[in-house]
């Protein structure tokens, strides 16, 4: 997972300040994020919608391989593969298996289930690794058909892309070294706390009253590299991602309660509402027939124990 990255520690802080991509004005431009971008702390919480509510599904799925003519699913079928945008460094959700070189995890499995519904073959999927700050623009302009990448559903993003119903409920916590006295993010005032650029986590760090210093890097595993090299004091993001990081470093621990709610959904272009309805139908059926639970057990069960009830789908 070699992406263009800025490694200079000095530049990181600047990037962190500029790292808010949920601000619509910054996501619509392709120019590099300048320091002039509204700092995350100043961005008001967008409550203009009910983010968990997605488009109502059709009720039945077309037979795999026979997508209705004119639909976006038929286009994907013609193309021969579903292009899934994800990351390759989020252990458990979508990470590159160093032994096989394949990208796999809970998120990838979600994408494969959509491919299964379209083609009748989960392998007809092309994995495209995208940076966190590319998730919204790439889904919006159709660079990828679908993004499944620990992506929080929120109103700011709803303005540019369509989301599926919630397929996982996460919440933000904080990872510190085992000898740290911090019990939660509130004890990290003035400390450097890392998150991926373009993630809601980075914005949330800036909103914490104790005023930790947000540091933005390309991905969360890059945060772990910085953490292991003592360039940052902590990493803060969704509990499930932190669990994946902590599993790679016995000298790291996850502390504190969830201080945010991060409902995960799959993002796609809002030009094809029929595709969103199709995806929601697949999710609904898989939650009903136990596929969701089996997927949870396979990827997350080892870390988090027995599968909870799947998130309740809400529709408009």
């Amino acid at each position: 997972m070699i992406r263009t990255r800025i490694a200079a520690a000095g530049a990181l802080v600047l990037l962190a300040v500029a790292g808010c991509t949920d601000n619509p004005s910054s996501t619509t431009t392709s120019a590099p994020q300048a320091a002039a971008t509204t700092p995350p702390a100043a961005a008001p919480v967008d409550t203009s919608c009910q983010p968990r509510k997605s488009l109502r599904p059709t009720g039945t799925l077309p037979t795999p391989g026979k997508m209705p003519a004119g639909s976006y699913m038929a286009e994907i079928q013609k193309k021969g593969r579903l292009v899934l945008g994800t990351s390759q460094d989020t252990l458990l959700f979508s990470s590159r298996n160093p032994f096989t070189g394949k990208v796999e995890g809970f998120d990838v499995e979600m994408g494969r289930q959509i491919a299964q519904a379209i083609f009748g073959d989960p392998d007809k999927i092309q994995i495209k690794v995208i940076a966190y700050d590319k998730r919204v623009p790439d889904a919006a302009d159709g660079t990828v058909d679908l993004v499944a990448d620990t992506m929080t559903i929120n109103c700011a993003r709803w303005k540019q892309v369509n989301f599926s119903t919630v397929y996982y409920d996460a919440g933000q916590r904080v990872l510190v070294s085992t000898d740290s006295k911090a019990k939660s993010i509130n004890d990290l005032g003035g400390k450097k706390v890392c998150a991926a650029n373009g993630s809601t986590s980075l914005e949330n760090i800036a909103k914490v009253a104790a005023k930790p210093v947000p540091v933005g890097l390309a991905g969360f595993t890059d945060c772990l590299v910085a953490f292991q090299q003592n360039q940052v004091d902590a990493i803060s993001t969704d509990d499930v991602i932190l669990a994946g990081l902590a599993a790679q470093d016995p000298y790291a621990k996850v502390v504190g309660d969830r201080f945010t709610e991060e409902p995960y959904g799959m993002a796609m272009s809002n030009k094809h509402p029929e595709f969103t309805r199709f995806v929601n139908q697949v999710l609904a059926e898989n939650q009903a027939n136990g596929t969701w639970k089996a997927t949870y057990d396979k990827w997350l069960g080892g870390q988090f124990g027995a599968a909870p009830k799947p998130p309740v789908a809400e529709y408009r």
Partner: protein, 445 residues
């Protein structure tokens, strides 16, 4: 004799204020008498003769030192700079390929990476030895040395994590790759450019044009002075030849011919070393650097797994610089000679082959067959094509490096001899001139 008597002026009383100018006046007075004029001529011949000897020695010395410096420091530094660059670039590509392969790194790639790092550090050590402390070059080498150590540490961490199946390993690898591409390679490139400038400067030093011009002027002046002195003497003494002065003239002519021959040969060999050595070596070295960058771009595009557009753009622009119209391969083909002509022609064909494979890799990846693209890119066939291509460039490079060494060795021939024999012959000339004129002077006693 009678004329000499007549020329002699009546003694003049010296008044007190003129004492300051006494020495000058005495010199002026010398011109008024025949023995005085002879003494002046002798002094002029001795001064020009001794100066010629001194300058001959210094010229030979400067040209010799310049040639040695070029051959033993500047050019090897250039070659080492290229080694540092290509070893680091290859290490990065190899690490990225090992990462692409997945699982435990293939032993061949691990070994290649280790060899690369070894080559880079060895070249750094010997480049440091050739570089005086405190300059830009020394600073670049120092930064490269510490950066390479840091790079090796990051890759080692990446491997350790990879062995445990932890995805953070790939982040370490990408941190290492960034350090390599963003910091180390530009520094190596700077070192390469500096070395290239030093080679260009080295040719100037080896030619020592100012010294050579001065020597030519002095030799011409000495010959002219000897001829004029003899004409004057034959008029004054009514003898056609003054044997010692004739001998001095002959020795001067020999010195002029010898020095001329040695210095002309040196310049001819320097020119050959430049045209058949340094120029093709620099072009081929740069071609190899660009080739390795192509290969690295390809691996990094794949490793970026769909978001490597920037690397692919870089590949295209590098490929154009390498093999486009008036690209480096064009220039190298025009510059090489001998066996290397075939090598470069062959390299061109191999490069076309490689670019064709690369195109197929991109087609596979863009068409969704990532595994197929990776297998093709790091497969044995592609690796063999690429190695054959860089191998051809390497062979041509070695050929011309050998030419350079030969020519620079030949350029240094005779300069040591000239630096010793030149001053000795000048002393002989002075002694002969002294002997020839002294016999005439004695006649006035």
């Amino acid at each position: 004799m009678s004329t000499a008597q007549l020329d002699r002026p009546a003694p003049v009383a010296v008044d007190a204020p003129a004492v300051r100018r006494g020495a000058l006046r005495r010199l002026g007075e010398l011109r008024e008498t025949s023995p005085g004029r002879l003494q002046l001529i002798l002094a002029a011949l001795l001064v020009i003769g001794l100066l010629t000897g001194l300058v001959a020695g210094l010229t030979a010395n400067a040209a010799g030192a310049g040639t040695d410096d070029l051959g033993n420091r500047a050019q090897p530094l250039l070659v080492e700079a290229e080694t540092i660059y290509s070893a680091l670039a290859d290490a990065d590509t190899t690490a990225a390929q090992a990462f692409l392969a997945g699982g435990l790194e293939p032993p061949a790639l691990t070994q290649r990476y280790d060899t690369d790092l070894d080559r880079a550090t060895t070249a750094l050590t010997s480049a440091a030895r050739r570089t005086p402390e405190g300059g830009d070059t020394a600073a670049a080498i120092q930064q490269l040395a510490s950066g390479t150590a840091q790079y090796a540490a990051l890759v080692a961490t990446a491997r350790a994590n990879n062995r445990q199946g932890l995805p953070v390993g790939s982040s370490y690898l990408s941190a290492a790759s960034n350090l390599n591409r963003d910091t180390l390679l530009p520094q190596a490139q700077t070192l390469f450019r500096t070395a290239q400038n030093e080679v260009d400067g080295g040719y100037g030093d080896a030619r020592s044009s100012w010294w050579v011009t001065l020597l030519v002027l002095l030799l011409a002046g000495l010959l002219l002075a000897l001829v004029l002195a003899q004409r004057r003497l034959s008029r004054m003494t009514h003898r056609t030849f003054n044997v010692p002065l004739v001998a001095a003239t002959v020795v001067t002519a020999i010195l002029a011919l010898g020095a001329g021959g040695i210095l002309t040969a040196q310049r001819t060999h320097l020119h050959a070393a430049d045209v058949n050595g340094s120029t093709p070596v620099a072009l081929l070295a740069e071609a190899r650097i660009l080739a390795l960058r192509e290969r690295g771009d390809e691996a990094l595009t794949l490793a970026a797994h769909g978001s490597g557009g920037a690397y692919e753009e870089d590949f295209q622009s590098v490929a154009t610089r390498l093999d486009g119209a008036n690209g480096l391969l064009d220039k190298a083909a025009a510059a090489v000679s001998g066996n290397a002509v075939d090598d470069v022609d062959d390299a061109r064909v191999k490069h076309d082959d490689y670019v064709a494979v690369h195109k197929k890799v991109r087609e596979l990846d863009d068409g969704g067959d990532y595994d197929g693209a990776v297998n093709l890119a790091i497969g044995a066939d592609t690796s063999a094509t690429f190695s054959a291509f860089t191998g051809d460039i390497g062979t041509a490079l070695e050929d011309h490096k050998a030419t350079f060494t030969d020519e620079i060795g030949a350029a240094g021939n005779g300069l040591g001899l000239l630096s010793v024999v030149g001053p000795l012959l000048a002393l002989v000339i002075c002694a002969l001139a002294f002997a020839g004129i002294r016999t005439r002077l004695e006649e006035y006693r």
